[in-house]
Symmetry: C2
Subunit: 192 residues, 2 copies
Amino acid sequence: MYNIILKHLEEKVTLSLEEKELIKTFFKPQKLKKKQFLVIEGYVCKYLTFVSKGLLKSYNVDEKGNEHINQFTPEGWWTSDMNSFFSGEISFYSINAIEDSDILTITVEDFDNLTLQVPVMDRYFRILFQNSLITKERRLISSHTHNAEEKYRHIAENNPDLIKRVPQNLLASYLGLSPETLSRLKKNLLLE
Amino acid sequence: MYNIILKHLEEKVTLSLEEKELIKTFFKPQKLKKKQFLVIEGYVCKYLTFVSKGLLKSYNVDEKGNEHINQFTPEGWWTSDMNSFFSGEISFYSINAIEDSDILTITVEDFDNLTLQVPVMDRYFRILFQNSLITKERRLISSHTHNAEEKYRHIAENNPDLIKRVPQNLLASYLGLSPETLSRLKKNLLLE
DNA sequence: AAATTCGATTGATCTATATCAAGTTTATTC
DNA sequence: GAATAAACTTGATATAGATCAATCGAATTT
């Protein structure tokens, strides 16, 4: 149950046996069925969540009712509305399951205790957030620099696994494109 | 020289006198004149930089020669090409001074030593990166959800200081707009 | 202070992508 | 396995914002 997360942590920091045992006690295993919600926009996001198995999406809905996907979270990654989680404000995003998923959740209070009792977890999350920041920055630049085709090509090259797993209309939303545009663009790529 | 950065650190973590003295020794004060470069795209970004005074911009240039601004860094904030800094790969961004600036720089080796010798710095950077991540995420969603006018309104409300300080064409680049579009849009806002 | 560079404005035109609509295929659900 | 709902495709049309070009004003440099 906990070996995936521990393996993941140990890729970035070294942990003693005692630390590992302690860490386990902070995380609660849960299951999400496909289409089930982990967080609903407008409510407080109570958990920081590690996905052990499955796939979640984090998204928000604009005034016109369009869904904008912020992040896909497959196994081995973390998800949350970080602002809501850390500040206690209401969540800007909804998070729900694209596939049946196994997750491990931690509350803010426990997160605070965890980092105080196992300080190396601050280092772990420092490195984790640092890497996420690099990725987010790249995506933002890409959204300004690249046209629709370049955005698709980029993700197809860098996340071939993801594009196989995710319905095309959700991928379009993630890339900031309409489903029609993505469909046409893929057709053109095949014809070339 | 170091009081600004220490004050900044102490907003997020508590530091002993000894820790503060130790921290100081890791940072090298430097000055940048307006238009001077801290990092040049294609070279390795050797420093993580805290800005004590002034204003820097981080940007990259696309194939067509257009500049895309990734970040403005006024006093009290950090800048770097994080990927280049931490991985040693060549930099994707250039960073240069919009105003004459006072900065404090640290190398990766020193950064590693700093976090090992003063572990609470991992916590500091965890919190810093965590907050940056929230901001970047919002910007990315905004770039998909909002039109030109909404993007401008948003930054005008949240960073009124910045829009006073930054030339309009650079602001346009930061928002992913052409300078002409931003100019027209501001005119319309005034007429309303 | 003159010269030069840089930034902002305005107009005309173009284009990538969105939107609307209908039809088809593929998955779910009962 | 029939019914229903999602997901994808294709066409026609609309539009936000880019691009090109010219002018004007402001600020920096010599």
